[in-house]
Structure formats: C-alpha cells, structure tokens
Assembly symmetry: C2
Homo-oligomer: 208 residues x 2
DNA sequence: GGGATTGTGTGATATTTGTCACGTTGGGAA
DNA sequence: TTCCCAACGTGACAAATATCACACAATCCC
C-alpha cells in the first residue's frame, strides 16, 4: 500500500487511513475480467497499477470500447451498476497485469459525508467518465471509420504510453464494431500516409 | 412550491425545507435554451414541470439527441460541467413550457454531507443518465437508421405521453444526425408497415 | 512433415446512408 | 390574391461500410 501513497496524496489523512484499513488489495492478470455487469456490485474499485479497459457488449456478441482506467482512477461503474442493468452490459477487463484497491460500498457512502475530498474524488470520477462517454458518442455519431481508427490508435498509444501497440486488426475491428477487412484497408492507407508502420504482430504509431 | 411537494416526498423533511428556502423557481417557455455548456455552471437544476431535452452539438452544426428530463429529474450536467468542457458541447432546451427549481451548487455540496436522501438522489441521477447514454451508444453503435428511428419515436412518445408527435422530419434528421431525405423514406416504410400514420404536421405512433 | 488454427490482404459485390436536383404542397404575410 | 418560405417526396447517383470468397503466411501441436 505504501508504494501507492502518491495516488492519494490529495485526500485527507483520515481518509487515507480508512482506505488502508477498509480497502483490500487485489491483483489480476492481464486479460482477467474484473466486472461483468448484470451482476450486483457491492464494491468500489480503484486502479492502483496497470490498465483496465471498459467496453459495452450486446446480445449478438458485438463489443464496443468505451474508455480506459489508469492508476488513481476510480470505477464509476461500481457506483452505477445494479440489478436493473439488463440484457446488454458493461465489462471491465485488465489490459495489463493490474493491482486494484477494493472497498465495500457501505464504507464509501459514509466517506461521502465525512470527507470532502472523497466527495470531490467521486464527482470528479463521474465527470471524467461522462466526458469520455460523450467524446465516444461524438466519434461514432459524427465521424467516419478512418478518423475513428486514428482516434482509437491515439487513445491506446496514450493509455499504454508506447508507440508500439501489440494488437490485431481483428481486435480493433471488434472494439470499433466494424469488420476486419475494413480495418485492414484503412490501416494500409494510414501506413501509406506514413502515420503508422505495420509490424508482424501489431502497429507502430508514427505521427497521429 | 406546494404543488410540487409530491416530487420530493422521499426526501428528508429538513431537506425539503432547504430546497424551498435556498431554491429559486424559474419558468421557461418552450424552445428556451436552458444550459449551453462551455459556460461555467454554478447551479443545479431540477425539473418541476414540463419536459427538457439534452443534446450534443459539434463544431459543424451537427446535433445529437441524448435524453429527456422529466419532472423530478435532476440535471446531471450541472454537476458535471465546468470550464474544462471544450469545443463541442451539451445543450439543454425546454421542449414544452417548463418550470425549474434552481439551487446554487455550494448548497448542494453541503446537502451531500447532511442528507442521506440527497446523496441517493444525486447518485440515482448519475446512474440514470449514464444508463441512458449507454443505451444511446448502443443504438448508434449497433443499429441501423430504421431501428434508431423507431427507438426515437418510442422514446418521444413515452416522454410526451402522447401518440401524436408534432415534429418535422427535418428535426428528427438533425437529432439523429442523419438527413431529411433518409428519414422521409424510412418514415414512409414505417407507414406502409402500419407502425405509424403520417399527419400534416407530425406523426401518429400506432404500434412500436 | 502434415494438419489445424489464427490472422492477414484483396477483389468483387451488396447494403446502407448521404447528397444533389427538382417538383409539390400548404400556409402565412403583404 | 400572389408571393414566399418551410417542409416534404422522390429519383438518380455517390460514398462509406459490410459481406463474401479465397489465397497466403505464421504458429502450434501431433
């Protein structure tokens, strides 16, 4: 816990203490599914280390990438999900090996009253996620696949903090709810424009 | 204020009192723009009467319908917006003549600590809006225009609680970010299928 | 090596949606 | 009335994307 102190340096000391006492540290391997909505959620989750991605699924197996959570980010979902979520659902999956801090929601409800900084943390979390969702909406509503692909690559480069993305076209197609062939063609164009370089098992982002 | 009491019957009495004291009642004519984001928001807004719609705008004049607010609904936006919102923005517009209760955010931050029911109200508001946004995302991501149109009509029929929607195809096209001609054609198909009846100045929803 | 699996590249074609051009209709307002 | 304007309907065409069919390469397993 000590090594994650910097993530919480803006919180009141009493709250830092409580996080340490009431929270439980959880490790997850890359690829592990952390939340599959539909199930009732009784815990709030804060990412300490690693990267988590959230995506939407529908009945026909379609997926749709929503956003990433970085160290220090809380999961707005944990506060949002409950039984009433229906057929289609939101899933959280560890992209890299991940360490999480998990707290029962009963505690957090008290914190909301006791600690001003927790209130700000929660509101800030909602705000950020809401904004990212809106940004996502903008892209599907207003933009074509080529621009969406570029946005996708930028986002992932920033999230993973590396220009070399080890990701298959098939996977990208799924997350953008497109088809492999389309991504393949667009990727070729990006390569011709010198914006990316195609690797054996991934893409290198050159300038986007 | 008395006539709106039923909207707040689940709130603590002290809180009802405060809403009455600190809140200000505001009336708006149909069509009035209530919030244009980008501007800093210092007030929380609760709908008392009428119907408000929220939509997203982008730089090129594109619009995109997000969801409605009914009496009793709070505006998640008021808690979410701030300076950091950029170029594209969210707009709230009165659909019918509307009565609003407006409270400075400084008050509500205290309420969050003092009143458990306020906490639940706020979290519930976030949850509902988040869910509606997700539903919206599902539709643009996974569905074709015809299904999206049907969904649009259903939503509006339910929101306005009438089968006769006085709305132009042009307007629908804008809110779905499509074009008038496309809506026109799809509408004709819906009419042929007996799902709607086309009126002089609107649509009657028959079975959807 | 041989076979299965997975990801890829590409042409041909279908579907969906957007765009353009133009004619029609039904109000107001002068 | 006449003119104007906004909304509408429609055919023709263009653009974006999805789908199909197939061939190819790399990898893994036996």
């Amino acid at each position: 816990m000590e090594k994650y102190r910097h993530l919480f340096r803006d919180l009141e000391l009493g709250l830092q203490q409580e996080l340490q006492e009431k929270g439980q540290i959880l490790e997850a391997k890359a690829g592990k599914i952390l939340i599959q909505s539909g199930q009732n959620i009784r815990h709030t989750m804060i990412v300490l280390e690693g990267l988590v991605k959230l995506y939407r699924e529908n009945d026909e197996g379609g997926e749709f990438f929503m956003y990433h959570l970085h160290p220090g980010d809380g999961c707005a979902l944990s506060l949002i999900c409950d039984r009433t979520f229906r057929a289609s659902s939101v899933t959280a999956k560890a992209v890299t090996d991940t360490v999480l801090l998990v707290v029962p929601v009963d505690e957090t409800e008290n914190w909301m009253r006791q600690y001003r900084t927790w209130y700000h943390f929660v509101v800030g979390t909602y705000r950020k996620r809401y904004e990212e969702l809106l940004e996502t909406i903008d892209h599907i509503a207003f933009q074509n696949m080529d621009e969406r692909l570029e946005f996708y690559l930028r986002r992932h480069r920033n999230a993973l903090n590396t220009n070399v993305l080890e990701i298959t076209n098939t996977q990208i197609a799924q997350e953008l709810n497109s088809s492999r062939e389309v991504i393949s063609r667009l990727m070729k164009k990006l390569a011709e424009d010198g914006k990316v370089r195609l690797l054996k098992n991934g893409v290198e982002v050159l300038r986007l």
